[in-house]
Amino acid sequence: MSSESTPPKISPHTSGSRWYIASYVGNSIRKHRTRFFSLLIGIIIGVSLVASIFVWTDTGTQVATIDYFEANLYQFGIQQIYESPVESQLIFDVQNWFTEQSAYQDSDVVYHSVGLLNATNWNSSTPYLPHPYTKGIKDFQAFFVENSFLHRVAHQFQFTGVFELSPGECLVSTRVIKDAETLLSQTITLGSVINVTIATIYDDPITIGDLLPLNITNLLVVGTYNITSNDSVLYRSFRGTARPNYPVSGLERIFGWNDGIIMQYNQVNSTQRDTLTENSLFPKLLVQLNPMEVSAVGLESVPSVIREIQLDLEYQYPQRLAVEGEDQVFLLEQYIRAYQSRQTMAVIALPVILLSIFLTIFATNIFLSGRRSEVAILRSRGASFRQLYAAFIMEFIIIGIIALCLGMFLSLFIGSLIPASVGFLQFDLGIFIQFFSNVRLEPLTWAIAFVSCLLPPLVFTMIYVQSFLRTEIYQAMVGTAPPVEADLGVTIIYFIGGVALLGFLIAMVLLLPGTPLISIMQFAYAIAVWALLSDIGSRIVRQIMAGVTRGFRPIFGEKTFLFEKSMRSRRHRIVPLLLILTLTFSVTVFAVVEAQTVQDNVITQVGYYVGADIRIESSPIPHNRTSEVLSIPGVASVTPILSTTATIGPVSFTIYAIDAEAYANNGNWDLTSTVGENPYTVLHYLQNTSNGIIFPQTTAERLGRGIGNSLDITVHEQGGGVSGPALFRIVGLGHSAPGLGYFDPDDPNRPPDSTNGFGFQAPQAFALINQNFMVSRNMNNTRLMLASISESANIEDVQLQINNLGFPSAVYSPMTFSLEDAYPEGYLFNRGIVSILSIGFLACVIISIIALILFVGIIVTERQTEYAIMRAVGSTQRQITAIVVGEFIGLILTSFFVALILGFFFSWILMAILLNLFPFPYIIPFQLGIPLLLLLLVLGVVLIGMSIGTYIPARRAGRTNVGQVLRNL
């Protein structure tokens, strides 16, 4: 020993080195790698789940807005109201008004009128209307535009040839070409020369002569076109009208871009234009707003900003303008509203988020507890409370920052994956890319992720570290005695408490009104009870397993003795492990069942509203045209639903006349459709009572009538005239009917948020009577038919063929019904739920496997001495591995069964709560969808994953180095 290294004097009053903290943190993260990664992954999962919901909704809002601006080159299509005196200048005043608005970007004026193809073929006294096509008259909408307009909108059209014009040239829509061929046998192709006549009066032209034709001859066809988007403002500003073109046909759509010819603006000279404007050549102003300006206040308020501009405009020019564009804004608003209702989405992810918070806390616990003695050693060497506390907090902050950043990064992907979900665990790449390329991460998302995923473990770390820095160094170094077993009384009280809270939950769900706020609170409470019951369940499982193994001791010998001992002594580890396992399995059940339930219910509810396999809507036609439908292969049966109005005193309602037997067979009935007896019986009564009526239950109550009572009803003619009184007998009371919706639209049972039953809800209260009643009174017209198809039929084929019959205005089928078009908000919501559930499920599996490896790992580490002794007294590596794997698989299986019960129960109760949050017009009670096969498959995979998860640490247990472990004794 040389005297050179006499240490500098260390003052007893100074604190230690600040630098040491940093070096310690770096070192300890490196040395506790597994725990570090578990904690990291736990937090990452939590963060990415929470954040992805917000990323998704923020991005969704942006994508919806971008889509809106992309689909709608113009925000407004403005024209003078037809009825008002024509002012040729008005539209240009409006244009000037717009140029002064800050949000204004650009505008185009399109002149349009009615045109006739080759009108010179007829003499001027030929009647024009009705049914011009019968006479071979082809009319169309004529457009006069600038080339700048054509260039701007070209991408919204499909065309051959060119999409620009010089005087003397025109662009012809494919529909006009087709009609010219069939009506006039005139073939129009690129390069053809055509003659058109522009109508010069608007009001009621009776004869061709009334149109006072302006002839434009020798137009060269330089392009043929079709507009592609059919719901843009551009399209809908010229959406045309509907008219029967032939006496036998129903309404057909005519005019609009797709039934038109486009000519150059200067094709009519200015004098012509001015005279025409007074009569029939209308200017339409198409206005483009600046997306940047409109969204300056925030994407959420784009719809209201646009709407406000429209209100300003209408205030400026009251009652003089017809403005197109509102529908598109409304659609955008629906999307945005759906995205902004994300609290509800977050609520659904709550079980998984809770699980990841549990994991982070347990992982933190394990991360720290193993270092109790390490800290004691450091303290005995002079490390102060402050140094160590700062080190741990810093360590956590480092982990937290890494996890937060990685989690956020991950959430960009997951957030883009949510909208791409097309089913449980199925995704659409295109939507994913669309979202991912527009992905948005807002400051609020960071804040929420921090508060929900980092704060709990941080607070836990602070408290925990304090606690073990407060224990005396010596005590910490030798370790504390295991906590004393809680006595049975406490467990029983705990159990009773849990059951009481559960009872309270059920009572609350059944009794409280389902307002969104109450529902969200109920949901949160339910999750808390769920966690609590899982905890109670875990404790009971542990106790039971310790007891059961004791019972098996005579059979299995000392292995069970060891297991029993370990169940007792590692209680503080076993219970959290069981808890996580129980929660995982039950959340898995929840995710699978709930996703299935939501999907099933969309189909059932839509099916009920649509009414049957196929629903055919049309303008009024004779009911015997059902035979045309029936002749189509694949259609099994079809029944018309005749309708007229009726009154009982002041009460007016609709009467639907049906073939009761056919309706019973074709309609998608539900047991709750009718009151008391099942719908089939009720319909059977109707069938057998010629003056029977099925009456809305609510109206019957109001009138003080019931089953068997008779009703004096004034039935009106289908046209409106009074047909005369009739005496009916009530054979049954109803809540709702397939295809028609609620018997009484004011039914108090209707969910407040239901949106007209996707457009299928009958507009006013109705009753059902026998078809014969109306037919006998010569009321033969129907507007609705319900058909069923044979099992082998291809639904899309059948639908198309029915459509091709000509008379249907719309043909629906639940199978091909597009919820997205009919009801974007509900559609988004359902999709969101299903994808959050499937992503949540994946997270859940990852969490549980990490938890398992972590817990089994730590238990194995803590029991090394035990294994070493077992090895020393002659157990083989393999035996020990087997014992450990066996132990944990036993635990996994037991918690699995507890979880099944919890999972099903909470799927049911949470679904009941969620129904109040669905912006969804459910009409028949929801059914829990239990996809047994999928569930078995999923749980099987999870079980296998977990078993493999135990094997890794178990093998380590087997490899315990006897010499090294026992040397330390």
């Binding site: 260390i10 604190s15 070192n27 300890s28 390490e374 450091l378 170094m477």
Partner: protein
């Protein structure tokens, strides 16, 4: 080295701390320690008082469970006494009531530990472990490296500096622990059975190292030991039994024949523990007649066992808490000697 008599006997009151002699390093005064484990209370120390002076080597001996480890931890401030004071001369205060931070700051350069349990960090190399306390104290790196290398060389581990504890033998680990304790050149080394794992030659080397430090820097040592070798080098040996100092020995103690050098001290509660071996020889008498005879105290076992004398009282077992008849030698429940 002269030591004031009143200090040796521990008859010192708190208010007299100001007058403690210059060369006092550490002093325990009437220290009690009661462990609480659930419902069970264990009295590990029951009124222990003694002092350590600069450059002194004090050995502590006693049967297992007598409270040696507890005492070491109380002195080093890693455990708080249930009652009594522990005086540290570097801060001239009783540490029993100080907060953890002050104690930690004061301990950094004052006390070096060699614990009975493994007190090395598993993920640091031998050299890093030795350097640890200096790093925590914030001492310069070059000095740290030099000093730790020297210390490892001194304990004979020059070739093991880069090894982590798991790669070292028990004896080697113990020597790393000793080197670590010496790192900051503390005024007092508290060593709890440091030679437990060491073979004889090693022990000799370590002792030489201790001796050298002792002479060079005046480092004081309190060493809990079962080793005759160490005890023989001690200037003083304290005998601990059932949580009290049951005897002291001057230099030249023989662990096999403690009774030859044992001096009994009346503690500051006027208690005088009787040596166990003598009681055993006499057949564990529970009662004595006391006479003073020409300046000597004569204790005569009371043989007349009248009815009152044999009346059996119930006492509480200090380990398991069961009530036990006072005439029993061991607790029938847990086997502890009563």
């Amino acid at each position: 080295m002269t030591v004031p008599n009143n200090l040796i006997s521990g008859l010192i009151k708190e208010e007299e701390f100001a007058e403690v002699p210059e060369n006092l390093v550490l002093m325990a005064h009437d220290v009690y320690k009661i462990y609480q484990t659930g419902e069970i209370e264990t009295v590990a120390l029951r009124g222990v008082s003694f002092q350590i002076f600069q450059g002194e080597i004090v050995a502590v001996v006693g049967p297992s469970g007598s409270g040696k480890t507890t005492l070491v931890n109380l002195l080093g401030g890693t455990l708080r006494p249930s009652a009594g004071q522990v005086y540290w001369s570097n801060i001239k205060q009783d540490i029993a009531k100080l907060d953890d931070r002050t104690i930690t700051n004061a301990r950094r350069g004052f006390i070096g530990f060699v614990f009975q349990v493994d007190n090395l960090l598993h993920h640091l190399t031998a050299q890093q472990n030795v350097e640890l306390s200096a790093r925590i104290a914030g001492l310069p790196k070059t000095w740290r490296e030099k000093r730790s290398t020297e210390l490892l060389e001194a304990v004979g581990l020059k070739h093991r500096t880069k090894h982590i504890p798991a790669k070292l033998s028990g004896g080697e680990r113990q020597r790393v622990a000793i080197a670590s304790a010496l790192m900051n050149n503390p005024a007092l080394i508290l060593a709890d059975e440091p030679t437990g794992d060491l073979d004889l030659i090693n022990a000799e080397e370590i002792l030489d190292l201790f001796k050298e430090l002792n002479e060079q820097y005046g480092t004081a040592f309190l060493i809990v030991t079962h080793s005759q070798l160490i005890a023989s080098k001690a200037r003083r040996t304290l005998e601990l039994r059932d949580g009290i100092i049951s005897g002291t020995h001057d230099a030249g103690v023989h662990l096999k024949q403690l009774e030859r050098t044992r001096v009994l001290e009346v503690d500051n509660q006027d208690r005088l523990p009787l040596p166990e071996n003598i009681l055993r020889e006499l057949g564990h008498p529970r009662r004595f007649q006391v006479q003073v005879d020409e300046g000597r105290i004569v204790l005569t076992p009371s043989i007349i066992e009248d009815a009152v004398a044999v009346e059996v009282r119930l006492v509480t077992c200090r380990i398991c808490g069961k009530l036990v008849a006072s005439n029993r030698v061991t607790c029938p429940n847990c086997g502890t000697a009563l």
